[in-house]
Symmetry: C2
Subunit: 196 residues, 2 copies
DNA sequence: CCTACCGATCGGTAGG
DNA sequence: CCTACCGATCGGTAGG
């Protein structure tokens, strides 16, 4: 029953989520209205609800898409053997790449997750806390192995993740340096700060 | 006419702005309502308008208070002679101190300035751009004098300012390390990343 | 500083 | 996918 037709809704919903990310990034979740979103998508506001359940669903779709990608990357990294400093660099490059190439979703996930509704909000906060702990554990491991200078790992994680979210300003700037060059500069400074 | 009485409104308004900063930080500017603010202040919503002109006025009061403090600090720093790396460290410590001790206002200024109304919005964006350029100029000066490693100064500024805004997470965390220790760790990593 | 209230806009639903 | 519309809530004002 509807086996064939329902799947066609997939791409339509994807477009809505994608446009929502752009809109939420520009105006903020609360300030963005469903009527504006409808206009961008090219339908009446009421029609959006044939594809989505609520405005909140759009936000948690965006946030969990992003969170899942990062969690998956971290899973991979933890499974690898090797130098901790190299792992940190690898993860940073993944984050930088995310900010450069999936800017809107990552930005919305970073800045608008507070507006998630329960139970998604708690779930998200737990995942976020866990992610940071695992990231810090890699750094601590590196400190133990004398590959990384002795610093507070939690603070280091906090610095790195937020530093990367600064790529927002890079997107906005006019005399943009090249994305690859941005990445190399960020790595030089951030990884440089960890070296002994 | 009203020379004496009008000044009494000063402290009352200050309380409102202060409470507004806390509320805007917690819920975001758009999601925070004047009725909630009134409740926190301890009056009816309508009574707030005897002290302020609009919700927007609260936001630009907060944002420009913060911006003025930072601009003033930078003025001082530029007037000094001395080592560029030291100046950068000094400015970073000022920013860290701002995030630790004037958390709500700085946070709101950082994250909610987009909701400023014209002409304040344009004014704010200009000030912000100018501030970053002046900060970058100090770093470039340090590179020229071989006090700082050769990196893109604009990227460095972007990293530092955003890294510091990460202190938000520190405020939220339970097993908080000491404020002073946080500062030293941040300086070690960030300034460490600039050293040759 | 309060009571009473306005016009605008919001997210979302009914029904086709 | 649209027209028509609802209840709730918003920022703000009038008048005392």
């Amino acid at each position: 029953m509807g086996r064939i037709k329902t799947d066609n809704n997939g791409s339509r919903k994807d477009v809505i989520v994608e446009k929502a990310a752009i809109l939420f990034k520009e105006k903020g979740f609360k300030a963005a209205s469903m009527r504006e979103l409808a206009e961008v998508v090219g339908v009446e506001a009421a029609s959006l609800y044939n594809h989505i359940k609520s405005k909140n669903e759009l936000l948690h779709e965006i946030c969990f898409n992003v969170a899942n990608r990062f969690n998956h990357k971290l899973d991979e990294l933890e499974a690898e053997e090797g130098n901790s400093l190299q792992k940190v660099e690898d993860l940073l490059r993944f984050h930088i790449d995310g900010m450069v190439h999936h800017f809107e979703e990552v930005f919305v996930c970073d800045r608008e997750w507070k507006h998630l509704s329960e139970p998604y909000l708690s779930n998200f906060q737990n995942q976020r806390r866990s992610y940071r702990k695992r990231f810090a554990a890699i750094i601590e491991d590196g400190i133990k192995k004398k590959e990384i200078k002795k610093i507070d790992a939690t603070t280091a994680v906090l610095i790195m993740l937020h530093a990367i979210s600064g790529i927002e300003s890079w997107h906005r700037s006019k005399q943009k340096i090249d994305g690859k060059e941005l990445e190399e500069n960020m790595i030089a400074i951030l990884v440089g700060g960890l070296k002994k």
